[in-house]
Structures are given as C-alpha cells and as structure tokens.
Subunit: 96 residues, 10 copies
C-alpha cells in the first residue's frame, strides 16, 4: 500500500554542526536500509528547498507510523501524508 | 528532468454528464499516450479525494508547460508543480 | 485499517429542492448499508455546521477510494482524509 | 455529550530527554485514567505525524475545559475542538 | 451551556430582491423567537461587514445543531462555532 | 461602544512557574477591576483551548487601545479585535 | 474616531456593462457626498489591483456600519476594517 | 508617490527592558524626523494590537526601501507594503 | 521604476471559445505594444500553470495602475504586485 | 532554463552582529560570482521588506538545487521556486 510523504527539515540554526552531521548520517543509513528493504520506494529532493518527497510501500497505516516516527530527523520535520491508490488511467504496473 | 505535479479536478456540477464523460475519455487517452512515451512516469490517485499525484520526465520547463496546458481537463484543475532532483540518500537508479 | 474522514457538504443554492432531497436520500441509504457492513464505523455531525466526521474501517487505500468516490454527494463535498493507527496510550480494544 | 479533539504535540527540541519522558509518562497515566472512567472514549494516532485524534464524552463545555487544560502536555500542544452530535443517518447506538 | 457563533451571510448576488427580503424577514422572526425564549442570548453586528456574532445558551450540542440548521439563512452562511465556559477571572454572574 | 476581543495566551514554555503565576495574578486583578468598572462587560474561556473571548464597552478606539495594551499578558498574546454595533434583529437592550 | 477600511471590488464577470456603469456612478456620488461631509477622510486606489484603501472619520461603530452597508457596491465587495487611534510618535495633528 | 505600510512589532519577550526602551526611543526619533521632513505622512496605531498603519510619500521604490530598512525596529517587524495612487472618485487634493 | 507583477488568469469555464479567443488576441496586442514601448520589460509563463510573471518599468504607481487596469484580461485575473529596487549585491546594470 | 526564486531572509535577532556581517559578505561574494558566470541573471530587492526576487538560468533542476543549497544564508531563508518558460506573447529575446 502506497503513501506519498512530504518532509521539510527544519534544524535549529543553533544546533552544533557535528550534532547536525551525526543526525543526518543516521538519517541516511536508516533511509537506505528501508529503501533496500523495499519499504521506501522513492526519495526525491524538491529543487531549491529543504523539502523531500517520498513514496512508501507499507503493509498498513501502523507500519507507516512506525517507519516515520523512527526517522532520526522526526523531531525536526514538518510532515504531510497522502494515501495513494491506483489511478484508473495509469498504465504502469508499479503505480499501485 | 523530473517534476511532481498535483492536480485537483473541479468539474462544474452543472456540466452535462455526457460532456463530462467525453472530456474524461480524452484525458485518459492523452494521459496514456504520454505514459507510453515515457514522459508521464507515475500517476496515482490520492485516496478519498479529487486529487492526483504524478511524476513527469521532461526535457525542460517548456516541455512541462506544453504537456500540462494540453490536458483536456486543464481548464478545470488546480495544479501544483515541484521541480525534483536526485536526493543524495536515494539508492534507486530511477530517482533522477 | 482506520481512516478519519471529514466531509463538508456544499450543495449549490440553486439546486431544485426535490433534486436535493433525492440525493440526500440516496446518500443516507448508501451510508447505512456501509455502516451495517462494518465499513463505516462512526458517523457524527459537527454541531452548528455543514460538516460531518466519520471513521471508516477498510482493507486498504483502494477500498477507501472506492467507498468515498461512490458517495452520491461526492461531487458536492470538500473532503479531508487522515490515516489512523493505534495510539500506544489507548486502552480501548476498538481503537485500531 | 461528545467532542472531537485534535492535538498536535510540539515538544521543544532542546527539552532534556528525561524531562520529556517524564511528561509523556504522566500524560499516559492521566489519559488512561480518563479512558477507564469513560470520559475519553477514543484515542487514535494520525499515522506519520505528531497528531492525535480523540473523542471525549463529557457533561458539558466546562468539563471538557477541565480535562483538556489538565493534560500534562497541555502547554506543548496545538488543540482543535469540534462539538459533535448525532447524525440523522447514523445507525450506531454509540454515535451520540 | 454557552456557544459563541459567528455567521457571515453570503446571499447570491443574482437572488431576486423580493426573495432576499422574504428570507431575511423569516430569519428575523426566527431569531427573535429564540431570543425571547432565552436560547439566543446575544446578537451583534460586526461593524462594516456581513458578519454577526452571537452567544447561544443551549442544553447541549444537539440543541445547538437544531437551532443553527433551522436558520432560514443557513444555506447562505459561513458559520464558526466555539464552545464557551466560565473564565476563572470573570466577576459577571451571567458569564456561564 | 462595544468591541469583541479574542485573546490567545502563549506563555514561553521556559518561563519560570513563579514568574508565570505572578503575571497571571496581575492579569486577574487588572481584569476584575475593569469588569467592576463596567469597561469589560463579558469574559469567557473557549473550552479546550488557550483562548478567551471578551466584550469591552469603551468610549472610543483610544480607550480600547489603552485598556488592551495595559494588560499584563499583552506581550504574550495574539489578539483579534472586532468593532460591534446593534443588530436590527436584536431584542436585547444590552446588545449595543 | 478613525477606521481604516480596505475594500476589494468583485463584480460578477457576467454583469451587463450598463448595469455595472450605473452602480459605479452611484458609488462615486455616494462616496463624494461623504467625502465633502468630512466622513470619508481619505480614498486611495492600490496600484495594479481591484482594491481601495480608505480612512473614515465617524462618531462610533454604528455610524461606520451605516455608511459601509449603504455603499452601492456593498454586495460586491470584500471588506476589512481596522479601528485606528493616535500613535504616541505621531507629530501630525490630523492623525487622530 | 504614496505607499501604505503596515508594521507589526514583535519584540522578543526575553529582551531586557532597558534595551527595548532604547530601541523604541530611537524609533520614535527616527520616525518624527521623517514626519517633519514630509516623508512619513501619516502614522496611526491599530487599536488593541501591536500593529501600526502608515502612509509614506517618497520619490520612488528605492527611497521607500532606504527609509524602511533604516527603522531601528526593522529586524523585529512584520511589514506589508502597498503602492497607492489617486482614486478617480477622491475629492481630496492630498490623496495622491 | 520596476514592479514585479504576477497574474493568474481565470476565464469562466462557460465563456464561448470565440469570445475567449478575441480577449486573448486583444491581450497579446496590448502586451506587445507595451513591451515594444519599454514599459513591459519581461514576460514569462510559470511552467505548468495559468500564471505569468512580469517586470514593468514605469514612471510611478499611477502609471502602473493605468497599465494594469487597461489589460483586456483584467476582470479575469488575480494580480499580485511587488515594488522592486536595486539590490546592493546586484552586478547587472539593468537590475534597477 | 529559467527559474524565479523568492528568498526571504530571517536572521535570528540574537545573532552577533559580526557573525551576521560575515555571512552577508560571503553571500554577496557567492552571489556576484554566479552573476558574473551568467547563472544568476537578475537580483532585485522587494522595496520595504526582507525579500529578494531573482531569476536563475541553469542547466536543470539539479543545478538549481546545487546553487540554492550552497547559499551561505540558505539555513536562514524561506525560499519559493517557480519554473519559468517562454510566454507566447513575449517579444523579448531574453525571456527564455
């Protein structure tokens, strides 16, 4: 089951740079593990912004919550979730 | 070059049903031609709404404008465009 | 899987009253069938407004889309969807 | 009398983790006591967010205010309240 | 139990003037009956606008819904409802 | 001359509790003095929120400014002011 | 007593041009009468828009309501009102 | 050339009171010098708020920028600018 | 003196196509005359939308108002105006 | 390929003035290098505000992201990006 998730990162401007680097490294590892596991199907950056757009493929709402709330950057993000389903005009096998 | 495009369809409630059906049929044909051509990479419906989410793969801004303004439903939609680029944490070849 | 759905009905003020009555009757029948089937778990009116709040229990996003887009009042509503999951502090068996 | 209450928790990102844990533990105990007492009828998490959705069953507006303002997390939340009443199409005994 | 209700009237600009006058007359009669009955405690106009501010004194949410949805101008209004309760600093007997 | 004033208090979450208590005590005294003087005609709490709704009876705009800007909590509030006048449908002597 | 009033005119695009011209002529006459009477102290157009900004000098809120609701364009405008008072830094006699 | 400028002052609540007093004194002197020079034509306070409304009379956009960015309170304000021009219905010589 | 102007065209969906074509042709001629005259310095389309972005070079606010209000599409547009001035970091002669 | 970028700078009011001056100097140097390289085609200040408006000429979305995220003031800005393309009514060679 697919969900589109927009995340806008807002790190406090007074966070020490090594602390910021550490959180971002954890975030990257966490994200890549989920991508390799097939749970995090797409990850794009919105050009010229602090915003990312992702598509998650999860079992249900509970798994989405578990994945999102486990993000190392979770306390520093604005998050917007949209449940997706197949569009009747789509010809792509993967759009579902 | 990728763009995320959200479209929310707002057909006038007094449009005759055969006219609405005709426009939707044209929209479907137009959309599927572009999907087969590789320009319209993803097309999802946002569950429980009038909204779609798409990812387009175009040469440049001008081609995006040409495709979007040619949509049969263009006069009846609210449209939001976001330019996408590769996220440094993405592991997917297609996320660019 | 649970979803909270807020619906605000906006019937055109120039719709003939018998047409409005007919759509509302269909909506009621459609809604009660889904309530009896266990798909539409709660339905409340927001006091002093045109807004309803519902909780749906569906298999997945696709079934939510099917149910919502089938509402007789669908063309006349503003709709907001939130995916729900169990809260770790809930003590109620049904809150999931 | 029922009220829907949406709460979005915004803990300061510089709050020490043990202080955050203590407040959350108090919040959980407070919440579960009210759930067992029948005052806090439903409690869900909105998947992928900091937001909760609840349904309270109280005597009147004053009791709602007493319960909400007593929440240990009250100073750290954005709160939205909607008064609910029975919808004429509801078939559920508890939707009132 | 008190509720503050803001109502902004938006009559269609093409409504015939005698029809508008008839609805407004019904609204006035309906409103004054409820004021005399003690249900509609205050009614003010916001100066320089189409907006009114009222305070209702009702048994519960259901009675509020019954009164508001019965307004002859109900289909032509934007409505905002806030549940009120006694403020601990109030010295006025009637502020509850 | 009447004004409706909505105030939402936003005390900094790191303000020492004795300082918060002192400001609130001053606010209460200030408010009650103005209520007894007939300037602050109504004061309600919006149930389940940080918001208050008041009705002030002042000589003119300048007196409103003097009273509001003198509130001990003035630096910590979001404030919304609406000038009120008599509604032609009101039957209450005091609604003006 | 001064009020700043912003008005944005939204004439229906299908209003016959002679009807639009007639309303605008009435509006101009009404406005100039009030300007000569000293009630409508300033009237500016916001460059490149449908918006006007005015300053009214009235006895009280009731007179403001009487003047604004009497505008021939009143049913076709969005209106925003702000009560003004003397700023302690102003050196202009007329700023009050 | 006239511009309407709305300014809302948001001093940090933890700024020492003598520092706040010093900035406000500088702001007053700066403002009065520009008023005497004919550049700052009107200055009003919006009653019951932190907001001011001004009308500036400047040579061009560049002079407006120079004046506004030189305000001692500039780093602590939200600012909204509207270019004004003569309204064809105005009878006042100074409204241009 | 430069102004940035964003215009979003909203033609009524029931306007006859020949009437729409006629207005657009007039708009194009009007626009190109002003571009050749040096008043309309830039004109871009925002890709995938109904929105244009322009830069105008005018004598003053009054000339901007005259040009914008003379647009054949003026009654069908949402318009946003921003006064521009030279940025101290600009190296381009024309950015003023 | 052109993009319009609006940037609003929000430096923390407690940032030491020498640190602010250093960041601004870096920003200026970075900006002027890109202007000389032909990547940053226009840079204007919005008069009376903290906002800038720019037009960038880049190869693709990825280059836009690289340039914007490299801005020394990037962590302190609100940024809005719009993809531009040639408007069919433009007569200027450079508007593309």
């Amino acid at each position: 089951m697919l969900f589109q998730v927009q995340m806008t990162v807002k790190l406090p401007t007074d966070m020490p740079s090594n602390q910021a680097a550490e959180i971002k490294a954890k975030e990257k590892a966490y994200s890549q593990e989920l991508q390799h596991a097939g749970k995090w199907r797409h990850l794009w950056r919105v050009a010229g912004s602090y915003e990312n757009v992702s598509v998650f493929d999860v079992e249900d709402n509970a798994e989405l919550q578990e994945i999102i709330s486990g993000l190392p950057l979770f306390p520093y993000m604005e998050i917007n979730v949209k449940p997706l389903c197949r569009h009747p005009s789509s010809v792509h096998d993967g759009d579902a």
